[in-house]
Symmetry: C2
Subunit: 339 residues, 2 copies
DNA sequence: CTGAAAGCGCTAACAG
DNA sequence: CTGTTAGCGCTTTCAG
């Protein structure tokens, strides 16, 4: 039924050369005379031959597969990043094997084991908390890993994020300049480095102006929780402005403010988010936010990972890319504010 | 540096058994005595051994990798489907290798070749047009393929979609019952079967009521194009109601209507979409739409594919799952309308 | 430059 | 049930 895959041996026979000659013409760095290569390519084309990546992986130790661990795709930032990552990798001859990880501690371990089973050349962990233990296991297996949009205390783990601390500061400075003093924060999951850094930057800039956080609630990076957080924050003594730890939650916050609490944004409350997901620019929200430069984050991630894979550079690198505050209509704009 | 992967031979030695004994204890259907298995598992655990999936794939011919071809992830329906697909497959011991395909004819061919190189056990093609030629190539390679959310004229290609024709009819009946007679349609990409079926069902139900389409414009499944389509449709003699071929475009249509044209939805225009993506239920849109039952579509897709892979069932199946019209606030609700 | 030969790590007959 | 023996399809020494 299924015509078996054409092998290099069959091509060799048809081309009248050895099987190794076939291998060589399809191996980038190998030496084959123009004439031989010609014959081989011709025979290969006629037979529809293509090298078996898995067999190649077995002997070379390089599978050209990158494992991607990701927790959820609901937040629009991740599909976008996934798409860019995949494209960038595809261009370089690699492909992504997807692993969805539940945020429960034990599950991640299982997932990482499964990944390793596939002899991936590298791992990208997006939005997941990696224990040092786990990263140690990957290192032992000789599989480089880079964290995407999350960093870790572990100093020998490469990570690419936006400059969350600086971003948090920008939001505070912007809100302060607009004259707000009663400022609230709706936080994401406290275990995430992104959350901690954004909030730390935010608080520090507030503090420098002698302003303390007026109110705080946790939204856990989920829309439902963010909705509840908004309700409780506005139950009494509401703030004039809120910094929501990511856009995904900020959309829910705006909806709750407008359609449940009957408040006007930004007249009654200024709202600022973080990420600049596609929906942030949709007119219905028109959300002021800090952009995470997905393109540059992806480029850097791929570069670091492939450097480790192809050039065996083991130096760990941690990159935090600065992103601009995008002015839109969900927050009062300070007079004379530039950029 | 990188501690080489532990092999079954090493485990065998430590357990004092043959290498095949090790293989057998890790192969589901194989015969190994309780005692042997015990010893092997112990040794394996101590060494941290795990079977090499790629080596297994080479000899068994089963890689436990499913290739997923997808065009874009911007439309929220796809990340959602991807997440569910991956989860379902992961449960069954398979994993998704992602391939992003540009919609240009030539690129799909390249992508399919790349997929085949990885000796995938099966292919899921989501939202991409597959030529009969291409599907023939996969069949020749013995790799089953199922189309997700797109069907094809080719009768021996399995496909899972929602019942787009019935869905289109539902929208028409609903709009008609609300008393609308000047009804417009903003279409998606004309090459997509989903578009053709939705529109055909819509038109046919309209026709049965003696109503002709009042206006039509193409949005190509993109927000930008949908925005332009809305502008041109409302430039003169605007419709009272619009059926937009998918939610992704419908969001842009609503934004254009409200924020650019200053119209009220649904007071001035009723808008109905298709898919029921997450954003459709966000209060800012509250979009009336036909739900594509992603869960059931995924379940069916996986079942069909794994049946072909594991049970060598070659019968092609085409499934169209009925989805309900979800009543929300973007369209006038007919008096006494039920479900 | 080229062919022969040796495996990569594993499963699948095949005898015992 | 278990060990031995062949390979899966390919890259990579190693001689020539």
């Amino acid at each position: 039924m299924s015509k078996k895959h054409v092998t290099s041996a069959e091509v060799a026979e048809r081309a009248g050369v050895s099987q190794s000659a076939v291998s060589r013409t399809f191996t980038p760095g190998a030496s084959a005379s123009k004439k031989t290569a010609e014959k081989v390519r011709k025979a290969a084309a006629e037979l529809g031959y293509r090298p078996n990546v898995l067999a190649r992986a077995m002997v070379s130790g390089k599978s050209r597969i990158i494992g991607l661990v990701v927790a959820y795709l609901e937040n629009q930032f991740y599909p976008e990043a996934l798409e860019k990552l995949s494209n960038e990798l595809q261009k370089r001859g690699y492909h992504l094997l997807i692993f969805l990880a539940e945020q429960t501690a034990g599950h991640i371990d299982i997932v990482v084991d499964e990944i390793l089973d596939y002899q991936v050349d590298g791992i990208i962990a997006a939005s997941v908390a990696m224990s040092s233990d786990l990263s140690e296991r990957c290192r032992a297996a000789g599989v480089p890993m880079v964290l995407f949009n999350r960093s870790q205390d572990d100093p020998n783990m490469s990570a690419v994020t936006s400059d969350n601390y600086a971003g948090g500061r920008k939001v505070a400075e912007f809100l302060l300049a607009a004259g707000h003093r009663k400022i609230g924060h709706i936080a994401g999951w406290h275990g995430a480095s992104t959350q901690r850094d954004r909030e730390a930057g935010f608080i520090s800039a507030l503090a420098e102006a002698g302003v303390a956080l007026h109110s705080r609630a946790e939204g856990d990076f989920s829309m439902e929780k963010a909705t509840e957080a908004t309700r409780s924050m506005f139950a009494s003594d509401p703030p004039e402005a809120i910094f929501v730890a990511n856009d995904h939650m900020a959309l829910a916050v705006m909806d709750t403010l407008r359609f449940e609490l009957g408040l006007k944004v930004p007249e009654d409350v200024s709202v600022v988010g973080y990420d600049d997901v596609p929906a942030a620019s949709w007119p219905a929200y028109n959300l002021t936010t800090v952009r995470q430069p997905a393109n540059r984050m992806v480029t850097n991630t791929v570069e670091i990972l492939l450097d480790q894979i192809e050039n065996e550079i083991s130096e760990t690198r941690r990159i935090a890319i600065d992103g601009p505050l995008i002015l839109r209509g969900s927050a009062k704009i300070p007079e004379g504010w530039t950029t």
